[in-house]
């Protein structure tokens, strides 16, 4: 089985007097189905941009707001992160990203633009 290694690093020299600088790394054994890094253009209807359907297996999802509408035209609109019941649980500003371990047998993950179009980059990998 392939191994996926996600690493998060959080740093700040001035949020506290004790410098913030730590990394956490995981080693994930993954299997099909997976979605290689891809791009999608979200509009203002979440149901039009379902990234991942409901699944009984844990799926690790990476999503990034590219800061553009189409790969070249800039946008600062917020990109809402929702489940397929239209419940928003987060929003990405231009350039921001998230990494989520998703598991729901009834609800998937979808994207919705606050206004206009937003190009997002995403990929997912299923835990074996």
């Amino acid at each position: 089985m392939p191994t996926l290694t996600p690493t998060l690093t959080l740093t700040s020299s001035d949020v506290t007097s004790d410098e913030l600088n730590f990394s956490v790394t995981d080693s994930l054994t993954v299997t099909a189905p997976s979605q290689s890094l891809s791009t999608v253009v979200a509009d203002t209807t979440g149901a039009n941009t379902i990234l991942k359907a409901a699944s009984s297996a844990v799926t690790y999802i990476f999503i990034r707001h590219t800061g553009t509408t189409d790969g070249s035209t800039g946008t600062s609109q917020l990109l809402a992160l929702e489940n397929t019941d239209n419940t928003q649980f987060g929003s990405l500003k231009a350039g921001e990203w998230c990494f989520i371990p998703h598991l729901s047998g009834s609800l998937g993950i979808q994207l919705q633009s606050a206004s206009g179009s937003i190009q997002a980059e995403y990929g997912y990998w299923t835990a074996s």
Binding site: T3, L4, T11, V15, K93, P101
Partner: protein
Amino acid sequence: MATTTATVSITSNDLTPGSALSVSASSTLMKAGLTTGLNQMESGVMNIPTSIEFRLGPLATQAGPVADNTHNIGSYLYICNKSTDNTYWVDWGIHETMMGRLYAGDWMFIPWNASDDDAEIEIEANTGTNSIEWAFFNSTVALPTAAA
């Protein structure tokens, strides 16, 4: 204002034959709608027993130290299941809606939108007591009001 940077890398040498995966992204954590950095954070490590739903972070309507200074703003949340037993896991969700699962060693990072109290982040341990590491970045982290 503080500058806090979140960086992710996702790599794999054997996911696709002949094509190693190497994803990297970085962003600076900003106040909602602004270009200034977040300047408050909370973090900690907790052991959570099974069969109890816990809330991470404040409620959207939880009052801050200044009038109308509630938590209805963008925030960032990091959670890591530091348990070492591979049979342990923590489910996470939005209020009563399950969203995902953190097995031992797994982590997540989301720009959490605390839009209302029903957007609270809930976690629940399974199999045994799980050890959770977390950090919450916000522009209006409030301390609990002291008893009279």
